[in-house]
Symmetry: C2
Subunit: 201 residues, 2 copies
DNA sequence: CAAGTAATGTACACATGTGTACAATATATG
DNA sequence: CATATATTGTACACATGTGTACATTACTTG
């Protein structure tokens, strides 16, 4: 019942995602976003409530397209370590390919907002916490012979997260795939995740 | 000759540094900064020209207090690898200690500005490039027996930079020193930089 | 087709922000 | 102490930004 929306919500969230991704959250005003969507601020508030709540919606949508998400789809019956390496490699490709050098929306937002925005810090922190938990689970599953203690795995999971963050930021100024991937591969190999047999170039 | 400044320039740059550090560059308006300094915008433009040029001044000042700077002060006659580890350890302490979770101004700014701000991207990119060059130099100097090729060293230098970036961002949500440092130590150890003999806790 | 309702638009009343021209002020040096 | 000059303040003319109250639209269901 009632009037139809003048815009497609999914499409709107998607374009707002790209705007925030390339300009940063703080740089996206309700005015600018509304104008981009072709609606009035009044409609904006009516439909989305606030920028904060829209951003939380954006974050959920982003996650589906994010580097992080690929880790969720790794089949635990497969060669887990190799799959992890493949995801890292894909991230290198994505970062080097993006001419806008946008980096990763989630990581960008963490740096921009965690510690200063009380509403958005919790969802951002918990997103990244989920990735850490995911890494732990994958490393545990790959730990066939139980060679590593829980402590080892926790440390290694955080080391992988640090690497993930690092390459997403380095990709902003290192635009040579070979350079980015070979150092990522070295890190993965050092941590015992990459195996030279994988032969990934 | 002429009238005296109503403020101390060094002190002003320092407080602007802290403001940008905690709120981000884009969130610091000329209006807000001028009011903080107790001067009019007119005086601001007269003294600093623009926010961009002030920020470049801030960056130079920050570098002196930055984690990066410590790498410049490593004596190449000493145990270079151990010194590198000590700097990384100090960064872990600094990040965990900071209750504001500000992270590293330089890394924050890179994420915020590289790719979108044409004036500030170059100085930011070259700052981080200097760190990378520094890592290469240190690793070369530590490469006593010439075991590693130039290629190896380039990859390892970038791996160290990725790690540096990673912990500076992770420090935003990981507030437990033991957790942050032990995983950093693991990464350093994997890369052959940390040696268990160092016995750092 | 009428009525209820959801979405949209208009308008208000501010606050914040930019950059500059011109006037006022203070100070060091001749 | 007068003057040149660096610094500061005032005022303008905008642009952008926020959030809401109230009126207006258009659509759907009974």
């Amino acid at each position: 019942m009632g009037r139809n929306k003048a815009f497609n919500r999914d499409q709107a969230v998607d374009s707002v995602m790209h705007l925030i991704w390339s300009q940063g959250y703080q740089n996206c005003s309700v005015k600018a976003v509304s104008e981009m969507l072709g609606i009035t601020r009044s409609s904006f508030y009516h439909s989305f409530g606030s920028m904060e709540s829209l951003f939380i919606e954006v974050l959920k949508r982003y996650y589906i397209h994010s580097p992080f998400c690929a880790f969720d789809q790794i089949n635990e019956q497969s060669d887990i370590l190799k799959e992890i390496c493949t995801v890292f490699q894909n991230i290198c490709v994505a970062r080097v390919t993006d001419k806008e050098a946008k980096g990763c929306l989630m990581i960008n937002s963490i740096i921009e907002l965690v510690g200063s925005n009380d509403i958005l810090s919790p969802p951002l922190s918990s997103s990244v916490d989920a990735v850490l938990t995911r890494f732990k689970r994958l490393l545990n599953a790959a730990n066939m012979h139980g060679n590593f203690s829980d402590n080892d795995i926790d440390q290694k999971a955080l080391a992988l997260l640090n690497l993930l963050i690092g390459i997403n930021v380095s990709g902003k100024f290192i635009k040579d795939y070979e350079q980015l991937w070979s150092s990522t591969r070295l890190s993965l190999q050092s941590l015992g995740v990459y195996n030279t047999d994988y032969n990934m170039t």
